[in-house]
Amino acid sequence: MQGVVKTYGSFTAVDHVSFDIPKGVVFGMLGPNGAGKTSLIRIITNITKADAGQIWLDGEPLNSRHPEQIGYMPEERGLYKKMKVGEQLTYLARLKGLTAAQARQELGFWFKRFDIGTWWDKKVDELSKGMQQKVQFIATVLHKPKLLILDEPFSGLDPINANLIEAEIRELAQQGTSIIFSTHRMEQVEEMCDHIVLINKGKNVLEGRVAEVKQRFKENLFRIEYGNAQAFDLDATNPIFNIKKNEGQALTVQLAEGAATNDVLGYLINNGVEVRSFNELLPSINDIFIRRVGETIS
């Protein structure tokens, strides 16, 4: 995606956004409400057109044949309530270009996998919300899309079904499906995503591999648990680190400029501190999110 722009009247919803989604990767798209995520998704799914910029899918500029290779689960779930599950899924699959026979075959697979064989003739409004979510998920992946766009896929799911869907998403990614995962739930991002992009006010404010982003935003914070520190003067300043927090038996310290982790350990050991554990504290995606969004606002 290169320099994509979308304006509505005088409002710029998407402002020169560029990023790459590697194949077979769970790609987190984050951003506060109204950041332009939905506008971006609608451009990728060919629902609307970008005013400027280019999008390629699998090396080919986005065109009207691509919707058949994209699966999209909108945040606001929607199914025909009065239509039977089997009929409805067949219809949605055929709109994605499958033949009736192909659709039946794929449906057989998914119905068995989710163990919902008895639902075929049930109307959607006879199902519970969680069950409807499963149906919606099947509708999204039935045609084996190359690109899957999931907007808040876990909202409204109980933990068991959430795990089930999570496992399916991972498996699809392993099989080479690229997945755009849009959410506000940062713990899910840490759990699921390999890559993230952070959108704010229509702009790409941060992008990269999750581990790499965390490294980039680390503040050289370490947590040290210790057994005994009688001999150690906690209030004494030293050139190697600052103590940020003291919980008794545990310290959070920030390395001084130019100091290395071994300097910290050496200093502590020399001062007779019995170190039990020593961990680097990487910022959570949540922290990074709040920091970056805060920065772009100011």
């Binding site: 057109k49 999209y72 689960m73 909108p74 199914l79 009065k82 239509m83 709109l95 509708a139």
Partner: protein
């Protein structure tokens, strides 16, 4: 194209398979036939009650008719009226009818009836006819005329309208075509109303369906697979197929049911009708029926029907797409959105109000221009067709309608495309105009 076809199929099948559709489709003709047969049945079974009246006749003219099938029987009584009034019940009668003496050439004769129970309207008119006939016959006789002479005075007036035409040289050409203003009016009303009802009914069906797709958010899933325009067109065409199916079933069923109904009730209905004095066919009515029948066969059906169909289809596309656009612009709260549907409703309702003045004055300039204006022409031009409006008007109206249906489908497609993706509040008209010109 494949996908459009899939959408049409779904829109059609889900509706046709619905229980409510099957019920309405099957029950309506039964209700329709019942509407006509129940009154007949009611009169057959309730009309058996007979009244027997005592007649106190001061005129000395009245001779009780000997019609055994009539529901009223008369018996002349010699006693004084006050005595009869006191005793009629013990004598075994329902009431007392008093006929006063006929004074000279008076045109008014006031009868009196005394009873505990009121007479029904049909019995009153039966008595009036019987007495009037006899009094008139007496007067004619007293004036010295024979009944034959009287009969020869009767004159039945009717106007037969015959169409004239002139060729290019201005010479008169006899067409021999007879027409009837009554029939043309009836056809006009019928055609206008049928189109009105269908447009409202199926238009509202499309509007509801668009709103449902929007509020259930399924629309976002669908239009990530197909173009919004395809979805809208699929819906419009699918619903039109539902309408055609329903009408075909109705036609077949109504025909079959009327056959059955007349077979069962026919004989009874006939005898009953001849019992009803007011409905006895007079020669006058027979000749009128002849004129109407001739006019019906004279109507240029090969001209009217295809044109009716053309205006029907054109109107359907205009209003179906308008209703779709309105449905797409509605918010989540269906109640507050009602006012928006007036955008599509108002022109149809206005057209139906205009049917009456247009049919009464089919060549007025109101009739001419409103049957060319595309939002009213689908209702008003068919209402005028039986009056054979000038060809240029029909052609102009057709061209305008064809162009406008394309325009309205395009316009609605533009509004629909934006509207279905915006959630929350209903749109204002201003916003809808803005959407029309917004880019994709």
């Amino acid at each position: 194209m494949d996908k459009l076809w899939l959408i049409i199929q779904r829109e059609y099948l889900t509706r046709v398979k619905k229980k409510s559709f099957i019920l309405i489709t099957l029950l309506s003709p039964i209700l329709f036939v019942a509407l006509f047969t129940i009154p007949v049945l009611v009169t057959i079974f309730s009309g058996k009650e007979k009244k027997s009246l005592l007649v106190s006749d001061d005129s000395g003219i009245f001779v009780p008719p000997t019609d055994a099938s009539a529901n009223v029987s008369f018996a002349l009584a010699k006693e004084e009226l006050p005595v009869l009034k006191r005793n009629y019940k013990t004598m075994g009668y329902d009431g007392v009818l008093h006929i006063p003496a006929v004074q000279g050439k008076t045109g008014k004769l006031q009868l009196s009836y005394f009873s505990e129970k009121q007479l029904s309207l049909s019995v009153v008119s039966y008595i009036e006819r019987q007495v009037a006939e006899q009094v008139e016959a007496k007067k004619i006789k007293d004036a010295g005329y024979s009944e034959e002479v009287m009969e020869s005075f009767k004159t039945d007036i009717g106007i037969e309208q015959e169409e004239l035409a002139f060729n290019e040289k201005g010479e008169l050409v006899e067409t021999g075509k007879k027409s009837s203003a009554e029939l043309a009016t009836a056809i006009g009303f019928f055609a206008g109303f049928i189109i009105y009802i269908v447009l409202i009914f199926y238009g509202a069906m499309i509007m509801r369906s668009v709103m449902e797709e929007k509020t259930s958010r399924i629309v976002e899933v669908i239009i990530s697979s197909v173009k919004p325009f395809q979805l809208m067109m699929g819906k419009i065409i699918g619903v039109s197929a539902v309408g055609i199916t329903q009408m075909l079933i109705w036609m077949v069923m109504t025909f079959a049911l009327t056959q059955v109904a007349t077979a069962f009730l026919g004989a009874d209905a006939m005898t009953m009708q001849s019992n009803m004095p007011m409905q006895q066919p007079t020669p006058e009515m027979a000749s009128q029926a002849g004129v109407v029948f001739e006019a019906i066969t004279n109507q240029n059906w090969a001209y009217i029907l295809p044109l009716f169909l053309f205006f029907f289809i054109g109107g359907y596309f205009i209003y179906a797409s308008l209703f779709a656009a309105v449905g797409a612009s509605m918010g989540d709260d269906m109640g507050e959105s009602q006012s928006l549907s007036l955008v599509a409703m108002a022109p149809i309702i206005l057209s139906v109000i205009l049917i009456s003045p247009v049919v009464e004055n089919p060549n007025s300039s109101l009739a001419r221009w409103m049957s060319i204006f595309p939002l009213s022409s689908p209702v008003l031009m068919p209402a005028r067709l039986a009056f054979e409006p000038p060809l240029w008007e029909v052609l102009l109206s057709m061209v305008v309608l064809a162009g406008s249906s394309v325009f309205f489908v395009w316009l609605s497609g533009r509004i629909y495309r934006v509207g279905v993706l915006l959630y929350g509040k209903k749109a204002t008209l201003k916003e809808m105009v803005k959407w029309t010109f917004s880019k994709e």
